[in-house]
């Protein structure tokens, strides 16, 4: 039995190692509040991250899978969510058949900054700003730390490296041979936080990353909570089943 558990554990432990090694320097590590088996999101941090998304990222990046109603996860009330949604406009066709706009509703999703992909590319030097709803899960196994590092990974290129027109050097952007189409966005005091938190680069990068990780994995807290309960339950069942098995097999020893 021990052997089997060891074998299974070894397989599980090795499987990520089986993946091709990631190139590029080691990522900066942030002690995220949502790390670990009991991790939770920090609501105030998510609210600050939302502010960063709306004031900095949203002019180029969509957030297709997040609806305003989802912002209740961040601790906003129904009225606050309505107010946020109301700041956006959505196309509509009126009773006479003409194009018009209406105000956003909680059931609406964050609007796309560009009408279509070609327009987005034309506005960004040919590069398409990716949708951010899943970006902390789709780019790297260690997604949040990767996004955090990437946001702060802008440097002068190493000597002799030719950086293409309109591109920036980023030491963590291994997938694009360290040249990224996005220019550095995070600067100290780029936003003025509504809750008065000092807006250092690191603070802004952490807040937006945490917000984006919530956007990518909104059920994380439910998952962690359910996980603990399910594991405890299964553990008790397993102990009972072991005792029962021992009891039953003890019959074979009796003459």
């Amino acid at each position: 039995m021990k052997k089997i558990i060891l074998a299974a554990a070894a397989v599980l432990a090795l499987s990520p190692a089986v993946r091709a090694a990631e190139v590029g320097p080691e990522l900066m590590q942030v002690p995220w509040s949502f790390d670990g088996a009991f991790g939770k999101f920090d609501r105030l941090q998510l609210q600050r991250g939302l502010q960063v998304y709306r004031e900095v990222c949203a002019s180029c990046h969509s957030l297709n899978y997040v609806a305003f109603r989802n912002l209740s996860d961040l601790g906003y009330s129904e009225g606050q969510i309505k107010a946020i949604a109301n700041e956006y406009e959505y196309p509509e066709i009126d009773d006479e058949g003409s194009d018009t706009t209406r105000k956003g509703k909680p059931s609406d999703y964050f609007p796309n900054p560009y009408p279509n992909e070609k327009f987005a590319r034309a506005s960004n030097n040919g590069a398409l700003p990716p949708d951010l709803s899943l970006v902390t899960k789709s780019r790297h196994r260690d997604g949040p730390n990767y996004i955090y590092s990437l946001l702060l990974g802008y440097e002068d290129p190493p000597a002799g490296m030719e950086v293409l027109e309109g591109m920036s050097y980023n030491k963590f952007f291994s997938s694009g041979s360290f040249q990224i189409a996005m220019v550095k966005q995070i600067e100290p005091d780029k936003v003025t936080y509504a809750d008065g938190t000092a807006a250092t680069q690191e603070q802004i990068a952490q807040d937006i990353t945490a917000f984006l990780h919530w956007a990518a994995e909104p059920k994380l807290e439910a998952r962690h909570g359910a996980g603990l309960r399910v594991m405890l339950y299964t553990l008790i069942f397993t102990v009972l089943a072991y005792l029962l098995k021992k009891r039953i097999w003890a019959r074979l020893d009796q003459k």
């Binding site: 059931s107 339950y233 069942f237 029962l244 074979l252 020893d253 009796q254």
Partner: protein, 189 residues
């Protein structure tokens, strides 16, 4: 494992401590397993209930300013038709003049509309008989013998309060939950 060469399982002595403890173990293990299985099945069942995006669309807002007196419109709410009618004073008076005892499903008109907005009658447009959609909302459609709606499937007649007056339908047209956000905007659901 077994130290004994005997392959024949000997039953545990009845009434001995071992037996009761095993019974307790057996029942608690089986109970734990059964409850655990049920808890694993529940998420599957619950996934068939309306999802969060469906629930988010379970209310709809409608602007009444375009509806003329005497006119009716049909809007969609939760995938079902909802009848909105701007009633004339005569229609309101007719509805209120009927004695409750004469009704199949007695209900006062005052209870089926909102006090300050009683000219607007808002109903789920599904016949309570077998789920057809009654006629009477569009100008050229028949409104039945009582000036309300008429269900063509099996001939149910509803009056200007949406109450069943004649035909096989057992109950009045349902009034959906709604509130007036302003004088001209109503939120249904």
């Amino acid at each position: 494992m077994a130290n004994s060469a005997s392959a024949q399982p000997s039953p545990a002595p009845a009434g001995a401590d071992g037996e009761t403890r095993r019974d307790f173990l057996l029942y608690s293990t089986v109970a734990f397993g059964a409850v655990g299985t049920a808890m694993m099945v529940w998420p599957l069942i619950d996934s068939m209930n309306p999802a969060a995006d469906t629930l988010a669309l379970s209310t709809t807002e409608f602007n009444l300013s375009g509806v003329q007196e005497g006119q009716g419109v049909v809007i969609i709410w939760r995938g079902k038709p909802v009848f909105v009618r701007y009633r004339t004073q005569k229609e309101i008076d007719d509805a209120r003049a009927v004695a409750l005892a004469d009704l199949i499903d007695p209900a006062k008109d005052e209870d089926r509309v909102q006090k300050d907005q009683d000219k607007y009658l808002i109903l789920v447009g599904v016949c309570t008989h077998l789920g057809c959609i009654p006629l009477g909302s569009k100008a050229m459609e028949t409104r039945g013998e009582y000036g309300g709606w008429f269900c063509p499937c099996h001939g149910s007649h509803y009056d200007t309060s949406g109450r069943i007056r004649k035909g096989p339908a057992p109950a009045n047209l349902e009034v959906p939950p709604y509130t007036f956000i302003s004088d001209t905007t109503v939120r249904i659901g």
